[in-house]
């Protein structure tokens, strides 16, 4: 049986923020990845397959 569990969670993430806006680095990464994927998806050229009119 584990020893008595003391209320210590593992170290929380680092947070970045400006005033009331505060976001964890992991969440920020996820959000930036989403934005990056979207921008890249609409900007990167798409290889044109064989056309069949």
């Amino acid at each position: 049986m584990d020893p008595i569990y003391l209320a210590s969670v593992s170290d929380p993430a680092t947070y970045v923020g400006w005033g009331w806006l505060s976001v964890s680095i992991p969440n920020l990464i996820v959000i930036l990845v989403m934005i990056a994927l979207f921008v890249l998806a609409i900007v990167l050229p798409f290889p044109n397959g064989r056309d069949k009119s």
Binding site: V9, M34, L37, F38, A41, I42, L44, F46, N48, D51
Partner: protein
């Protein structure tokens, strides 16, 4: 039998309806689908309606309009793929029960796969949603495609929420403690008890994935049914021809 008119042997490929005099033709074999005689069956009706709207080559096409040429189009199928990984890892976790992963390293790995496939699922779904918004993809009778998509998004959030509640760890303690207030305030807490592990587990592992699955299937069938939405202000051959005859130029406007 009349001995003076011997009955010729009925050939297997004899034409129905033709027969020697006095001999009843063999029963007609069931005619293929489209005959009026079969119009009465529910099965035939349903099948014909389906085949008219979504025949196999539309359901599983080998071609798509040439304007479907952008990386933004991969995020729908990517979301679907993530959904399948979520289901697969979820099935393993369901088989082993909600506390297994706390004490098993394979369990923790499976839980990790479930966790990250959920993160990927929402990342891909949101990029897909952004793309569909900027393409005004609800045009051309595709409003239900949009609606089923958004409802699938909201249902997925609810499903994920029940997942967080059944982790049987500190996270689920805190989330259930906090979430109860919002739900109680609007009456939902009376029958949706976030602290009831049994209820949340069955919702998460059984009912809600089914609901999301049904909505997603409907959504995908609608995409196949209507086709991928054309570009805003698109014209095609038929319209170009029409414009030569003086009709207004067609546009696919939002």
């Amino acid at each position: 039998m009349n001995p003076e008119s011997p009955i010729p042997a009925v050939q297997p490929d004899s034409t129905p309806g033709e027969s020697p005099a006095g001999v009843r033709p063999p029963p007609a074999t069931e005619v293929p689908d489209d005959r009026e005689e079969n119009a009465g069956t529910w099965t035939g009706g349903l099948r014909r309606a389906w085949m008219a709207k979504l025949p196999p080559d539309k359901l599983l096409p080998e071609r798509q309009p040439a304007y479907v040429a952008s990386w933004i189009y991969i995020f729908g199928v990517a979301t679907l793929a993530a959904f399948l990984v979520i289901i697969a890892t979820g099935l393993v976790l369901a088989f082993t029960g909600p506390a297994w992963y706390h004490t098993s390293s394979l369990g923790l790995f499976t839980n990790s796969m479930h966790f990250w496939s959920v993160q990927l699922f929402f990342v891909f779904m949101v990029v897909h949603l952004w793309g569909k918004f900027w393409m005004a993809a609800w045009r051309g009778r595709r409003v239900m495609t949009w609606i089923t998509g958004v409802v699938a998004f909201l249902a997925s959030i609810g499903t994920a929420f029940t997942g967080y509640l059944v982790q049987t760890n500190f996270d689920s303690q805190w989330i259930s403690f906090e979430a109860k207030d919002g739900l109680n305030a609007v009456g939902i807490g009376a029958f949706f008890n976030v602290a009831n592990l049994g209820q949340m587990l069955l919702l998460h592992a059984c009912l809600l994935p089914l609901v999301v699955g049904v909505i997603v299937v409907w959504h995908v069938l609608l995409v196949r049914l209507r086709g991928v939405v054309p570009p805003i202000d698109a014209v095609d051959k038929e319209v170009s021809t029409a414009s030569l005859t003086g009709d207004s130029v067609s546009e696919a406007r939002p």
